[in-house]
Symmetry: C2
Subunit: 640 residues, 2 copies
Amino acid sequence: MSSPTALALRAHLDGRWRPRREAARALAADPRFQVRLAGRSVDEQRTIVLDQLHLLADLGFTRAGFPAAQGGEDDLGGFVAGFEMLAMGDLSLLVKVGVQFGLFGGAILNLGTAPHHERYLADVMAARLLGCFAMTEHGRGSDVASLRTTATFSPRTGEFVIRTPDDDASKDYIGNAGCHGRLAVVFAQLLTAGQERGVHAFLVPIRDAGGGLCDGVRIRDDGVKGGLDGVDNGRIWFDDVRIPRENLLNRFGDVAADGSYSTPIESPSRRFFTMLGTLVQGRVSVAGAAVSATEVALTIAVRYGERRTQFTAPDGSPIAVLDYLTHQRRLLPALARTYAMHFAQGQLLERLVDTPFDDDEGRRQIEAHAAGLKATATWHALHTVQACREACGGAGYMAENRLTRMRADVDVFTTFEGDNTVLLELLAKELLTGFRDHLGDLDALGTARFVADQAAEAIAEKVGAWRWLQRLRDVTPSPSEDGSIADHDWQLMMFAWRARHVLESLARRLRRAADTDDPREQFAIFNAAQDHLLAAARAHMDELLLEAFVNGIDAMADGPPRDLLIRVSDLFAISTLEAERGWFAEHGRLTAARSKQLVAAVNELCAELRPHARTLVDAFGVPAAALDVPLLAPVVAPTP
Amino acid sequence: MSSPTALALRAHLDGRWRPRREAARALAADPRFQVRLAGRSVDEQRTIVLDQLHLLADLGFTRAGFPAAQGGEDDLGGFVAGFEMLAMGDLSLLVKVGVQFGLFGGAILNLGTAPHHERYLADVMAARLLGCFAMTEHGRGSDVASLRTTATFSPRTGEFVIRTPDDDASKDYIGNAGCHGRLAVVFAQLLTAGQERGVHAFLVPIRDAGGGLCDGVRIRDDGVKGGLDGVDNGRIWFDDVRIPRENLLNRFGDVAADGSYSTPIESPSRRFFTMLGTLVQGRVSVAGAAVSATEVALTIAVRYGERRTQFTAPDGSPIAVLDYLTHQRRLLPALARTYAMHFAQGQLLERLVDTPFDDDEGRRQIEAHAAGLKATATWHALHTVQACREACGGAGYMAENRLTRMRADVDVFTTFEGDNTVLLELLAKELLTGFRDHLGDLDALGTARFVADQAAEAIAEKVGAWRWLQRLRDVTPSPSEDGSIADHDWQLMMFAWRARHVLESLARRLRRAADTDDPREQFAIFNAAQDHLLAAARAHMDELLLEAFVNGIDAMADGPPRDLLIRVSDLFAISTLEAERGWFAEHGRLTAARSKQLVAAVNELCAELRPHARTLVDAFGVPAAALDVPLLAPVVAPTP
């Protein structure tokens, strides 16, 4: 039974899409979603997950993100919220849902036009037509603009010819390709009327209704992976596959019957990134799923940490492992950071839904933050699930207790939907320039050249690191006015100062690329600053997380739950400063004495929050079915 | 084809047991050891691994660690070296070998006496008799001294009665228990003549020759785990199982026919830890295996990083991902640290073999270092294998490329053979006191009380952090005399100073426990210093790693390989100082300017070592069979 504080926090964490989340919790109670996959063959896992996918569609869970005109609900926020809740169960179903409705369906919705919507979306959302999102090629993961599959238009036949020039250009790691997909959204270089028009998306049938491969399509099952074995990934080759002209998803570029090309966006690079931008919901969804998985792992580990005892106290009573400082240190700062991420994710989702497509500046910010949050949240999930596994010892290693499978599944979240390192670079470049158009090709050299043209000072002004600082002061009253580390003003100032300083010094450093005309030297300057670029992105994300946390506190009514949240935000802020104290010291922002105080303060906050740990994880509202693991069973274990 | 430098380094890294390692490399070429387990059912995996185990025994690979009198080779070092090489293949076979020959066989060898050796060891090393090491109980992982299984002697029948009092005291996660084990070494509280005599080990048959369970033995298969699914772990209950008196492994404590007890070690706690101490080879072996697995992962990732390209350079040529600074940062400092660990492991193994059992001081140091190295090396393996997986992107997530399975298998290395956190505490306590006897029960309170009796100064003298500093100065000539960060004297001084300072301040802090008589307050003081305890252990291990690295350089002839090693040691030293620069700054040992120089120096060393990365991984001598993965295949990939 959750405490009143836990229930109040849960309602607050659930946020705007609370009804969707409650509905998803009810759904999780359905035994058909509780089939455990660990230890089953890959084939069995895929079959079970496919059945669950159909069940979700039958229950109408998959309609939210699609237009009402095709039987959807025009509620992208509701879809993502439901997706996040799904991530509390087995992640193979989550990813299968993401592939089918988010990537495949989302590409038809966002890159296609009305005829595509009318022809396909009803079948897509009902899971009558399963499909693939075939972007990544074997030889190019991050460099999607350079992919080498071609789509050549022939006015004579009125068809595109889709060709995989060599093995290196085969589409790889494609979900739904291994077994179940019948139609693929294929990203290829468009060639028409003798001209290259850059990457466009095409609908290419890969299997017939009976499951047989279409002519010219070769597929190799990717087989066993590091996790997510309920998802059938595969590798696809296209040997001059012919598709009709209308199979081009033509929202951002079209080919007429005579082969002439037209587009609403002239710059090829800008067009490409506009296309990718419409797919940003994928990154937002992955970030949210990572947060949910983290919450499940922390709930398991904290509850186990309260019941598991080792050694005895002076009075002879057994000591719960969560009473040990080292155990608290493993779990509680991660828990505090998870709260920050939960708020950041909720706020990003609201902005995604509320920002019109034609608000270029707003959409660009959302893309940058989605990139940053996806990278940050998936790495946080990876590390936290592992910390939870270790905190549960041998029991944590048993597959029946879910943690190892979650860890294995969430691993690739750091790679798909954009490699985390590349995403952080993307964010940093956006911070540096604010102008995607100039950096469109993600090319290191281009960035160096562009940045070299900018004045560091002008860039810094755009960052606006301080814009929210004054308001924060009103939101979280400082417990003291003496400038101690518990002083919220001081914490906030430190976050903002770091974000701004790292960015400013980066901009100054890259400006040196302007002093040379040698492209190789420019590249060398850029490459040598790559760790600085990542540091800028990380500092920005930390600031964004704190801002989101404070916004979350701000939106909550006074009372004990809010007071508890404030202390959790303190742990997030101070443990982050502790982790970065080397940087602060070398930038003259932290005295030796205060640096040591940070370490002590984290320890003290751990002790203070220890009694509230159960409340804080209960507030995540993880469905009981997701916690139905032997290590949390009421009795220690059944006798065989 | 490896370069001459790589070959010279390999010979040096192979060290004293080079012939064993070369033999193991030859063995790895046998196709029967190359069956890939990923994607197979648990039953299949277990069967394959069992067959491989028998094959190893038939080939004589498993005899090295046993006495010549029973057909062994009296070569523990050779056994461990072979075990380390085995860790370059699938880790299920490694762990099955560890359970059978290291834990089960090792317990009979080290805790038993001549009659046990004569009766069992020949069958054990031939794998005709498979067995278990049943120490861990479901409810007690780290607190082994408190385990609750009992062995009660009845003079009337001349038998011990082995009893599992409740589910919580069942033996859990026991390797070979799920299917194949017939005999178990069971750790239980000995009760005889109405007295408790503490934990002793007993040989308890659990299955008959036909594989049926013995009377009173219940076993539940642990089923699917987070990895190592080729090993059959299980949970065992003993319902008043009767075993003859001679089944007590009686080297350190014996029961006569009349039930009277005798022992060569009066203190129960000291007796227990002496028993455990004879089993230290297990921790040494796990540490070595972790280093080997890390080497395999780095070899795969570095070689892939050289061939995998993304984006293009100014001249239009594709850029190898290993040419990116961020990629170098992910892999090369980890590679440098792996070298340090390899040397530390080799030197620890030599000391293990060369230190007589009656050298109490020497054996105690070995135990402490084995604990520290096991913890450090297994965490390093976990993080590095994961970094390698991420560095290989989507390809890294395919099971066929080995990294995800290695990562999943190596995960539990941080838990078994002693939870890493507990092991680091063990090391720190040893550093604090030097007297295992007084701390024998691993109990926090006892430690606090004992430490309180010590003077911090006296303790510090025992540490001897500076003992090797002068010699080091002669071994690694400083490239400069100006006190720059490339100055080896300065690097060494920083490592030594940190190790000593953390330990001294910890001792002072714990002394405060003497100011109170309230046990609860004493416990609170100790618990509040737990992170300090871990910091002391980590600082000590870093120092030990650098010392080992310098010893490794010292033992190598002048020339290019040695010069390269020195630069690798610089990267290890400086990247470690970089990671700890917050601590150094807050202790007044690092100016802001020099702190920033550390960051820059790591970047520069990465660039400098980048061209040697392939040489440095080739030097590990990973067998070709272990690198037979599609992502390193000569052609990009086969067409299906």
